[in-house]
């Protein structure tokens, strides 16, 4: 059953199109990440789902009912959703406990049930000793957990998260990623998670929607997105792949810098210009000609940096294209030397856009 469904969603601010014909179906209990650079429309999409914004076109359905359309937008308070904000938005004039039970009080729940639920969520989020503190007296990570508890305690149909970890330091961020996933697995709400951080999306999401310029560029599992990018944008944005531009010889071969590369991915038409993505650690670099000439080409080392775990190379092919290559530390070649690159066919992905 589709829990949240966006159909042809459009949001315009004046002449600027922030969300441009976005359609997305989120199954019940699924965690979907909207991933993209700032200004790609992901937060606007989330605020449309929450009901803080009214769509210019298209509609949003939750379950079977239409909650947003051009004609009518249900106000946020009638959507049975919860949201975690980038700023956490904890109310400074209420204690931790008061913040958390706010939603239950609005739902006119009786005192005993509120106390019971509060105790349970405080235990889950390890906040018991802090219940009577004010938000100003908490650390960033603790504030984050209060925001989580406040959103989860009402048992929402849908949970929305807007860059929830961007204000935390690196260590805490990593810990909270798994925490969010663990809580999701425990409660199984339909969740929409907005982030610009790809590793955050990778660790938490069932499904990632990579957004660019108001559109969903590619939708897929984390593995799909990383291993099988379809567009140049996704290939570069996720894991910063090398993208080289060759010319297709036939459906599965591309001419590039004097070599012929066998590729996978999008089907090509002979003669078309073909962008190929390849990750820097998939490229093999050697000082001697490899045994097979297939998918190999020559290049000159223009930069080499020792990174401890591996070496980071910048090489230039005969047509002037620069490629980044990561090698084991044993492969040490100084700057200016000529090297052979092997681009394994399985990792050369032809991109359709």
């Amino acid at each position: 059953m589709a829990s949240v469904e966006l159909r042809g969603l459009v949001k315009r601010f004046g002449s600027f199109v922030a969300v441009d014909d976005v359609s997305l179906t989120i199954d019940h209990g699924q965690l979907v990440c909207l991933l993209g650079p700032s200004g790609c429309g992901k937060t606007t999409t989330l605020r449309l789902i929450a009901g803080f914004l009214e769509p210019s076109d298209g509609e949003i359905r939750v379950g079977e009912r239409v909650v947003s359309s051009r004609a009518r937008t249900l106000p946020p308070e009638q959507r049975n959703m919860s949201m975690i904000f980038q700023s956490y938005a904890l109310w400074p004039h209420m204690t931790v406990a008061e913040n958390i039970v706010y939603g239950l009080r609005l739902r006119k729940m009786d005192r005993d049930s509120i106390a019971k639920k509060l105790a349970a969520i405080l235990a889950t989020t390890k906040l018991e000793p802090l219940a009577q503190r004010y938000p100003g007296e908490l650390s960033g990570g603790q504030q984050q957990r209060v925001a989580l508890a406040r959103a989860l305690i009402v048992g929402p149909e849908t949970l929305l998260l807007d860059e929830p970890l961007s204000n935390l330091d690196a260590n805490l961020r990593e810990e909270m990623r798994f925490e969010i996933r663990r809580l999701h697995d425990e409660y199984r709400y339909t969740t929409v998670y907005v982030t610009h951080d790809q590793s955050e999306a990778m660790t938490t999401a069932d499904l990632i929607a990579v957004m660019n310029a108001g559109k969903i560029d590619q939708l897929g599992s984390p593995e799909d997105i990383y291993a099988r990018p379809e567009s140049e944008f996704v290939a570069r944005f996720i894991g910063a792949a090398n993208v080289i531009k060759g010319t297709a010889r036939d459906a599965e071969h591309v001419e590039f810098a004097g070599a012929t590369l066998a590729v996978v991915g999008a089907k090509l038409a002979a003669g078309q210009s073909a962008p190929i993505a390849i990750r820097q650690h998939e490229i093999q670099l050697s000082t001697e000609a490899p045994a097979t000439a297939q998918n190999t080409l020559k290049a000159i080392v223009t930069r080499q940096v020792y990174l401890g775990m591996n070496r980071d190379y910048m090489v230039e092919t005969s047509d002037g294209t620069s490629l980044r290559v990561t090698t084991p530390t044993e492969t040490a070649v100084e700057k200016g030397r000529e090297v052979w690159l092997t681009l394994p066919p399985a990792h050369c992905r032809a991109l359709s856009r």
Binding site: L74, E77, N80, H93, Y102, G103, V154
Partner: protein, 573 residues
């Protein structure tokens, strides 16, 4: 699940309440500002039978009766502005950039002169420096002999400029000290590390960075001196000459010449708008002083042996706006004769008893002031609150217009507004002259800009996500406002209310053309008592007024959000 309730509400058409609200508030603001100014323009450019004419302006700029006040006002405003800069610049530098002892005390004393109503200061200086009875002149005669000429004569051009400067220099001080306070010490350090010695650094970095604030301060001081009514009315009229504001006021005396009064108000209005534009441009460009990076606290210049001399200088300057006048007022309040030095044996509470129990006009004026203060503060706070909410949360299209209208009265001097309101509400359909309503409109308009700015700043500190968080958890817009926004705004709202209240208490220049015998307020009463020569009663009322003002300013300064500059938010009239 709330499906059942929501599906029923789906059928209801959405009520767009935002549009009526916009129109309602826009209409209120238009009524407050545009109506009086329109009538002002109509009268300025027509004759008695409302035929268009420029004759009023011809008279204004050719008749010596009007040219002289114009010239006098120009001299007073220019000289006061210069004196204010010369006095305020060194004090603000000492307070904000050096290790002079007692910096906080000096700031507090400047605030004290800021919140002293200028007309009260003028009365106090009458007590001190009237040619015959002035305390300072009496003191002088002790040494120079009884028949010596007076040392000071406050009823003179010099006297007026002096008194106006006393209560105008804090405007310059606040702007310059603020600029110096926020100027990062690293900017000076950067000059020092590149080889600039202390004086080079001051000359090439510190002074140029503070200069826009100083010039802006001078413009405001000029404006203030130009539009002030109380001090010139108290000091220039006995001396036998007029400024523009007193001239406008005299045109309301019998037989009234309303067309000329309206025409005379036009140059004041135009100049005010121009000067405010100039100030905005100057301070707007000052942004360059805080470019990039994080900065530490300002570095203080060590004065070494000069520390106490510097403090002495500041105290000597502050003798004039604070110590001497306050002493004169206290003396007058407790002395049987306002201009005789009180001694323990002559000290009396008679004046206080007299003012509050016997003086019949006090009761009425106090009652009117309390009614007007409460009503203006309440209505003004609500008005400012809604407009600030609308403009900071951008809830309706056209919110910018509301914000503009709410700040526009800044550019209308009190007496100009008074003239406009008089013209608007002495004729049908709105005959409000002679009622408290017309004063309420005047005070509302005058206090709206600062109230709006204060509440807008308060709203800006409340992240919109705080409201949204409560919405998404199930609160309606009104519930969110009541449970989240209102408690967070409470202190800001109370502060705004108090400020409007004391603003009403201090207002004279609009009230002076709008009051009738039944609608006298405290400030007008003080002015009347001065004409009657009852200085002891003024001292009592003035001290009461100051005590209330200081209590509010002190209380508001305790609220961290409002910052330490609460006094700067008052408008003098």
């Amino acid at each position: 699940m709330t499906t059942t309730t929501t599906s029923s509400s789906t059928a209801k058409p959405r009520i767009d309440w935002t549009r009526p609200v916009l129109w309602l508030f826009a209409a209120v603001l238009v009524l407050l500002i545009l109506l009086p100014l329109s009538w002002l323009a109509v009268f300025a450019f027509t004759d008695k039978s409302r035929h268009p004419t420029l004759q009023n302006f011809v008279t204004l700029f050719s008749n010596p009766d009007f040219l002289d006040p114009l010239l006098t006002t120009a001299i007073i405003a220019t000289t006061s502005a210069l004196i204010c800069c010369i006095v305020a610049a060194p004090i603000s530098w000492l307070v904000s950039r050096t290790d002079m002892p007692g910096r906080q005390t000096i700031r507090a004393l400047v605030t004290a002169s800021f919140v002293t109503p200028p007309f009260l200061g003028a009365v106090a200086w009458e007590l001190l420096a009237a040619p015959n009875s002035g305390l300072l002149n009496q003191l002088y005669r002790l040494f120079a002999g009884d028949d010596a000429d007076a040392l000071f004569n406050i009823y003179s051009m010099t006297g007026i400029i002096f008194v106006i400067s006393c209560y105008t220099f804090p405007f310059v001080f606040v702007l310059v000290a603020n600029a110096l306070d926020t100027m990062p010490g690293e900017l000076e350090d950067a000059s020092a590390i590149l080889g600039g010695n202390a004086w080079t650094t001051a000359r090439r970095v510190t002074i140029p960075l503070a200069l826009p604030a100083l010039v802006a301060g001078a413009l405001i001081a000029f404006l203030q001196a130009m539009t002030l009514f109380g001090s010139p009315a108290i000091l220039a009229l006995p001396a036998g000459f007029h400024t523009m504001t007193t001239k406008i006021w005299s045109l309301f005396q019998y037989p009234p010449k309303l067309e000329l009064a309206a025409a005379a108000a036009v140059p004041l209005l135009v100049l005010t708008i121009l000067l405010l534009q100039g100030q905005k441009a100057l301070l707007g460009r000052r942004g360059y002083s805080v470019i990039g990076g994080k900065y530490g606290a300002p570095r203080r210049v060590e004065l070494r042996g000069w520390r106490w001399a510097a403090l002495g200088f500041c105290l000597l300057v502050l003798l004039n706006p604070v110590f001497l006048p306050y002493l004169a007022l206290l003396n007058a309040a407790f002395s049987p004769n306002a201009t005789t030095l009180v001694t323990p044996s002559t000290a009396t509470l008679h004046n206080i008893v007299f003012v509050f129990t016997e003086l019949s006009s006090t009761q009425l004026a106090l009652k009117n002031t309390v009614i007007l203060g409460t009503a203006t503060a309440t209505i003004g706070t609500i008005l400012a609150l809604v407009i600030a909410y609308v403009t900071t949360r951008k809830v309706i299209a056209g919110h910018r217009v509301l914000g503009f209208l709410a700040t526009a009265p800044v550019a209308v001097p009190g007496i100009v507004l008074g003239v406009g309101l008089f013209l608007s509400y002495t004729r049908p359909p709105f005959v409000l002259y002679g009622t408290l309503w017309i004063l309420l409109l005047a005070f509302l308009t005058i206090n709206l800009p600062s109230a709006y700015q204060q509440l807008q700043a308060a709203f800006a500190t409340i992240h919109p996500e705080l409201e949204e968080a409560s919405r998404i958890l199930g609160a309606t817009r009104l519930q969110a406002l009541r449970q989240i926004t209102a408690p967070l705004l409470r202190t800001g709202v109370i502060a705004t209310w108090c400020f409007i209240f004391i603003g009403v208490m201090r207002e004279l220049s609009a009230a002076i053309v709008l009051f009738t015998s039944q609608t006298k307020v405290l400030s007008v009463l003080i002015y009347d008592l001065n004409e009657g020569g009852d200085l002891a009663a003024i001292a009592v009322l003035g001290i009461a007024m100051l005590v209330i003002t200081f209590a509010v300013v002190l209380a508001v300064n305790q609220i961290p959000m409002s910052g330490g500059n609460a006094g700067a938010k008052l408008r003098n009239g």
